[in-house]
Symmetry: C2
Subunit: 202 residues, 2 copies
């Protein structure tokens, strides 16, 4: 394993995968991705998942759109992702930092109204004053109608899919702005689950 | 969101979920979990996933068994997990630290021979001398026949499911032993994928 040294490059990245719980999972993934414009991000897909890299705006724009498009099929779909910034390791995708900030999929995503249940954990590993930032973003999510609760090792979010992703993008962006040189955020978002919302089914 | 302060308690925990890509996902999950003895861990299941807490040995024993049992159905199944130690936040499950070290599911798991493709990232957030530990564990995984490669933000593992989990348990245990006061490891493991192994399907 080659050691990756954290650098000053501010390219963001995300390893993500979409899991449609249906026999037609290949078709659900492919048809969802066909609706997503990925031209402002570097992208690589393997048998395990997809990696996108570029500006924070576009990383969230693309991943949000992929989830919402897949969820809009009505199947039970789970989106899993790790967002990273501050540890580029190499330079693949650096040219995508030249793209402007205008998100390509926001308009389409806005048309998809999807209830979702999410969970995120933030790992700011490079200092910075992040606790106040996180608290204020959590407050802002609540004001946008997201139900926020604490679970083991994570924060749970229930509400509209677009609002959840916007909240996640905002908290990630703000932690980075407030001086964390290396930040990682893990996210799981579920839609159309047959289980009771928030219900323990032990 | 209540702030969780890292403590000295060495209870480990794992938020995990199993995603069977089939219409019968509920049945696959339920029948897999029925085969797993969880009596040495604290456990809570919600609509988003399951949290188990207790000794490192049992956390890995239970999660490995859950994945292998689900994968042995032959369906395309993905296991996703975040393992944590050093940030208990509360005391639920502390009584489970009194359990002995004998894993309850190891014998059953050993009978399941399952090719798998995994990806993990380690976030040692509490100091300690961990880079040498990680390198030496990676070497040890290779000697057990696991194919190890670097991908963006993660290390990829290809090989036998039991060997992959044993390698992950060893690296997590050793990082903790070597002084990291708070360690997080994210894991994604896929079995029976219709996509080509390791193949980029861009
Ligand atoms: Ca069917």
């Amino acid at each position: 394993m080659e050691q990756r040294v954290c650098g000053s490059n501010r390219i963001a990245g995300c390893n993500f995968a979409i899991y449609p719980m249906t026999d037609d999972f290949v078709q659900v993934i492919q048809s969802a991705l066909k609706e997503v414009d990925t031209s402002k991000v570097w992208m690589e897909t393997t048998d395990i998942g997809t990696c996108v890299r570029g500006r924070i705006t576009h990383i969230f724009d693309v991943t949000k759109a992929a989830f919402l498009q897949a969820a809009s099929t009505g199947h039970h779909v789970v989106f899993n992702a790790t967002y990273s910034i501050g540890c580029p390791g190499d330079t693949s995708g650096d040219t995508y930092m030249a793209e402007d900030e205008s998100p390509l999929n926001a308009a389409n995503s806005q048309t998809i109204h999807q209830e979702a249940a999410g969970m995120f954990s933030l790992y700011p590993m490079g200092g910075g004053d992040y606790m106040d930032t996180i608290y204020s973003q959590i407050e802002s999510m609540k004001q946008q109608g997201i139900e926020v609760s604490s679970v083991h090792y994570a924060t749970r979010l229930d509400g509209d899919g677009n609002s959840i992703y916007n909240g996640l993008e905002q908290v990630f962006t703000d932690v980075e702005k407030n001086g964390s040189s290396h930040t990682v955020m893990t996210v799981t978002i579920s839609a159309n689950s047959p289980s009771t919302k928030g219900g323990k089914k032990e």
